[in-house]
Symmetry: C2
Subunit: 151 residues, 2 copies
DNA sequence: TATTGTTATACTCTATAACTATA
DNA sequence: TATAGTTATAGAGTATAACAATA
């Protein structure tokens, strides 16, 4: 039967919905939206950087980053500092509150790992990871093919 | 090691991003946004119905449905018909174009099943489905607990 | 009185285009 | 001439609150 394969996709689609809900709860508690949290996450990985870098990393326009940073400045998660050598650029810099928020996101993620996989036998987790590796590869390929086809 | 469990969550998070991208491509080709496609999908399942029903099914406010239906009417996917017995309500009804769009969504989903799982052995698919069943259960429970805790 | 859907208002995310200041 | 970030404008999705018409 092919029913299991259809069911597998249905499960993955439901998963995206539920993961989104779960994320949203934690973010709201921290006073963040998804997009702002994503920026903060990238910023934490890169260290203080110009907005241009964030725009490239997030895959959005420079204008969008202006808006996201505006919101994060207003709510106290980052500041705009002067760039030491390029006076066109600003150095987006996390505040202590911003750093704490990233730590909270990280903790939430670790907690979620425990909730979802803590009781799953190691062999089963390994099988899942192996299967998902292939699925992700094929999904990336499908997206690339679609993007290429409409070029 | 717990590395595999962390990796499993990372994979699932990446999956949500990629599935979203893949969806978006197909929807744009049909002239639909995600929210409007979701409404159309629910509408197809329920048959012509009042906006109130759609608001409940989508988990959004009545106002939001007004906006979504406005957009779908403007782009020719649905019409607002008079309700036969309740003159307060409208019957949102798919047009032929709306029905064709849902058929296209369904076909795209079937194609994706083939791309992602077509070459995966049945036993591996069955294992995936079994594992994901448990994961989804625990995720639902975690969300319910969070919602209950902040009540 | 309760319900359906609307107008009014506001916030977030996103985009393109034109512009300023600086490299 | 090219780049960083802004203002200007627009569209989509979401929400609350007040209101009209109808049940």
């Amino acid at each position: 039967m092919d029913g299991d394969r259809t069911r597998a996709l249905d499960q993955l689609l439901e998963l995206t919905v539920l993961l989104g809900q779960d994320m949203a709860v934690g973010l709201a508690r921290d006073g963040l939206t998804e997009s702002r949290a994503h920026l903060l996450w990238v910023l934490d990985a890169s260290g203080p950087c110009p907005q241009r870098h964030l725009a490239d990393a997030l895959g959005v326009t420079a204008r969008t980053v202006t808006g996201l940073v505006d919101g994060l400045v207003d709510t106290g998660f980052v500041t705009r500092e002067t760039h030491p050598t390029d006076r066109r650029a600003t150095l987006v810099t996390p505040t202590p509150r911003g750093l704490a928020a990233v730590a909270s996101l990280r903790a939430g993620q670790a907690e979620l790992v425990g909730q979802l996989f803590g009781d799953v036998p190691e062999a089963e987790v390994a099988a899942l990871v192996g299967t998902m590796d292939g699925v992700l590869d094929r999904l990336r390929a499908a997206i690339a093919a679609e993007a290429g086809g409409s070029r």
